[in-house]
């Protein structure tokens, strides 16, 4: 008998159909992956399962019985625990308070006992093999990777029958991913169900027993993982065959130095980096979470103050602010980590987002040149193949991939020739990923210089010309194209760790 079954689930948001009569079934004792492009309906389905949304039509059945109660509380009582990609932690509460939220041990006066809370949290962490996170720390003081670990621990804390992992590895480093996959496997072996949602094919292949693919809100099919090839899965997701994920790589770097950093440092996080980025080059940056890559990108983009010296196109500069970085003499543009909170004005039209960084170029006598603005927008939309109804569509209503393209369009609308891509494929579907990689190579070929950080080492190996590995705020290795392999990069991050 199926532990979980969903029948004919339909959900609309305004005019958009997110789920259109989809169905799904999973058994106890398996890790079941749910795959699909962004906008395929995975997130909506998970949110319905976990009670965050209510379906317009259809029913959910647990152990053959229809679930009638709604809301996160009902789902929790039914034994469903979600681990959300958009974290559900309360940043102003401590780690322990978050994990046991609503289930805290109370003193006779109905107060929450901090001591019991922290002890329980420490015990849970020990049991799960997590270390390095103090139970009484405020969540807002943790890194995103640590927050994701806490979110996972929280999902596991109630020992649910159904654990939902929604892109739970997006901010994790390799050994943490291994840890999570191991936990998922063990739970399945213990007779529980784990739903695993990820864009990373490698992980899915390693951990999932079966795969269900969604497309356009409908179920395409379910298969044993071992019985189906990667290409086939991708074809199911796209509804067509993808030629290739990674583009051809030709060395396009010239001798011209776009960016030269010496002794670049930021607080305690970045301790003196020297490197050069050349015109036409894609320079990869690898590193474990919190080893200085964020500071590196933010410093170059002018968003944090830094020490050391910088030369851009051969001229020494000091970048004072993002505005200064984007200005004509310098031209450094950042594609930030979190597009919803750092990249886009979600409630504003695509048009305004695209030209936001380039307005000074589009203004005449203090007024915005409407025609020039429209030209820039339509050119970007067609060049990046952004799927929008009209330039007036609100950015927040686009799918993840299209949102990322809008951010990219914003960078390209400026005069910047040095682009900083910070994890550009995070939460982006396969089709758009391929487009972004192709775009990066094209840009390099046309003379841009690109610094590229990704949490997915495979992307660095296949897209970058060179990769520098960051460890404890220093460069622990720089690998040229002919030496690039996931293995080597991983080892370099590890060696750095040991050395420090």
């Amino acid at each position: 008998m199926n532990l979980l079954e969903a029948r004919d689930i339909t959900k609309r948001f305004g005019g958009i159909v997110a789920l259109d009569g989809m169905h799904f079934a999973a058994k106890a004792g398996e890790v079941h992956a749910i795959l699909g492009e962004n906008g395929a309906g995975k997130s909506t389905f998970i949110q319905i399962l976990s009670g965050a949304l209510v379906a317009d039509r259809g029913k959910i059945m647990l152990r053959g019985k229809t679930v009638t109660a709604h809301g996160p509380g009902a789902a929790r009582r039914a034994g469903i625990a979600p681990v959300f990609q958009e974290l559900s932690l309360i940043s102003d509460l401590t780690v322990g308070e978050n994990i046991w939220f609503g289930d805290e041990a109370l003193t006779p006066l109905r107060m929450i006992s901090r001591r019991a809370l922290n002890a329980r949290t420490a015990a849970l962490f020990a049991e799960l093999g997590l270390d390095g996170i103090a139970p009484d720390r405020l969540v807002r003081s943790l890194s995103i990777g640590q927050q994701q670990l806490v979110e996972i621990a929280k999902g596991l804390a109630c020992d649910p029958d159904i654990l939902i992992l929604d892109e739970a590895t997006s901010a994790l480093v390799p050994h943490e991913v291994d840890w999570l996959l191991d936990i998922a496997r063990r739970r399945a072996d213990a007779g529980k169900l784990v739903l695993y949602i990820s864009h990373r094919m490698g992980e899915v292949r390693r951990v999932a027993d079966r795969i269900t693919v969604l497309r356009n809100g409908e179920t395409v099919g379910t298969a044993e993982t071992s019985a189906i090839g990667d290409d086939e899965i991708v074809a199911m997701m796209l509804g067509r065959r993808l030629n290739r994920l990674f583009p051809e790589r030709h060395a396009t770097a010239t001798d011209r130095t776009a960016l030269k950093a010496s002794g670049l440092s930021v607080g305690h996080q970045l301790k003196g980096m020297d490197f050069t980025l050349r015109e036409g080059e894609v320079l990869g940056v690898a590193g474990l979470q919190g080893h200085g890559q964020r500071e590196l990108f933010m410093a170059l983009a002018g968003a944090v103050r830094f020490g050391g010296s910088l030369e851009v196109w051969g001229r020494p500069v000091s970048i004072r602010s993002p505005r200064h970085a984007l200005s004509q003499g310098i031209g450094v543009a950042l594609l930030p980590e979190d597009r919803r909170h750092q990249g886009l004005l979600l409630a504003k039209p695509v048009r305004e987002n695209v030209v936001l960084a380039a307005l000074s170029r589009l203004t005449r006598f203090g007024l915005i040149d409407r025609q020039a603005e429209a030209d820039v927008v339509s050119e970007s939309v067609s060049r990046l193949q952004i799927k929008v109804g009209s330039p007036e569509q609100l950015a927040g209503t686009l799918s993840g991939g299209n949102q990322q393209k809008v951010v990219l369009a914003k960078l390209l609308a400026t005069d910047a020739r040095i682009l900083l891509f910070f994890d550009p494929t995070r939460g982006v579907d396969v089709g758009t990923k391929a487009e972004i990689f192709a775009m990066m190579r094209d840009l390099a070929a046309s003379g841009y210089a690109i610094l590229f950080y990704s949490t997915d080492i495979a992307e660095l190996v296949n897209v970058a010309d060179r990769v520098m590995v960051l460890s404890y705020g220093r460069i622990s290795a720089t690998l040229p194209a002919d030496q690039l392999s996931e293995d080597r990069i991983l080892r370099a991050t590890m060696i750095g760790q040991v050395a420090a």
């Binding site: 965050a52 929790r76 559900s88 309360i90 308070e97 939220f101 107060m111 929450i112 996080q269």
Partner: protein, 322 residues
């Protein structure tokens, strides 16, 4: 040492820094006028600060919930007016009437919460509107300052149970209540909802429930302030509440509670209310001409907030790995 001090000050719900400021101010006063903080003097200071403390208490909870409550101005007035118009009724007991007055405050708070939650409206505008409505009702109930408060109540405002002035006692009770409340699930839920509504919902927090609790407490506290005003002055005023709205918000902010929601607490707010109360004394003792006193109060307010935010920024930088 310096770093750990600043991180300690920044971390304790934001009240560390205001407390330091309060001690500096109190120290200055004691230096300029020794004996300023004897028991009798403390009782006077507390008595004059209590109304603001009550209003600011409710405001703190609402701000933690991520909202703001301007309607306390109306509620305070209405409560004072109700307290002062019913002296003619025979056999008035203090407690049932207090319960009725607080009930009115609670209902106003619940109305705010329901409007905000059900229609998903911005608290600032909703409570701006309800402030006007409630103050209007107060003016209809009693068109001007006056009325009479039953002598029993009037006596209550100056009573000294266990030899402790009632205001000091109430302040102690309030702090005890906070020591309890801040550790309850409701307080955590309010914080959670104020920090991030979506996350809070996913954590099974009832958004409307926390709103009702927060605005309900705020309404009750404002009504209590109005009652206290009436018992202290022996009269009600349909417009007095307006004087307390912005100072209450100022006390909350000085106390380190972030207007963005999720953070802060009552300890800071009470500290903030006393800072506001004592700055007047500092400038009085500095013998500034009275207009400079007013300028100085504004300047002190800004300076306290600036130092607070600098300390917080420092502690955040040194405490977190980002």
């Amino acid at each position: 040492m310096k770093r750990s001090l600043s991180s300690l000050l920044g971390r304790t719900d934001g009240w560390g820094m205001p407390l330091v400021v309060l001690f500096i101010i109190a120290g200055l006063i004691e230096l300029m006028r020794p004996g300023s903080f004897g028991l009798e003097q403390l009782a006077l200071i507390c008595a004059s600060a209590m109304i603001l403390v009550f209003v600011a208490t409710g405001e703190t909870i609402v701000v933690m919930r991520g909202g703001i409550d301007l309607s306390v101005g109306g509620t305070l007035s209405l409560a004072s007016v109700i307290s002062a118009t019913r002296a003619d009724l025979p056999g008035l007991d203090l407690l049932p009437w207090l319960a009725l007055i607080l009930g009115v405050g609670f209902l106003i708070g619940v109305a705010n919460a329901l409007i905000i939650s059900l229609l998903k409206l911005q608290p600032f505008l909703v409570t701006l509107a309800t402030w006007s409505i409630v103050e209007g009702i107060a003016l209809i109930v009693q068109p001007s300052e006056g009325g009479t408060v039953p002598p029993v109540w009037f006596a209550w405002g100056y009573s000294r149970p266990f030899g402790i002035p009632i205001s000091v006692l109430l302040l102690m009770l309030l702090m005890l209540w906070w020591a309890w409340f801040r550790r309850t699930r409701m307080a955590n839920s309010i914080r959670a909802a104020g920090s991030n509504e979506r996350s809070a919902y996913l954590n099974r927090v009832s958004l409307m429930g926390t709103n009702i609790a927060a605005y309900g407490i705020s309404g009750v506290m404002a009504a209590l302030a109005g009652f206290f005003y009436a018992t202290q002055t022996g009269a009600g005023s349909p417009v007095v509440g307006a004087q307390y709205v912005l100072p209450a918000i100022a006390a909350v902010v000085i106390g380190g509670t972030s207007l963005a929601g999720g953070r802060g607490g009552l300890t800071g707010t009470i500290t903030g209310a006393f800072i506001l109360n004592l700055t007047g004394t500092v400038v009085f003792l500095l013998k500034l001409t009275s207009y400079w006193q007013i300028v100085a109060q504004g300047a002190i307010l800004v300076l306290v907030v600036i130092t607070g935010s600098i300390v917080e920024a420092r502690s955040e930088r040194s405490g977190a790995d980002r």
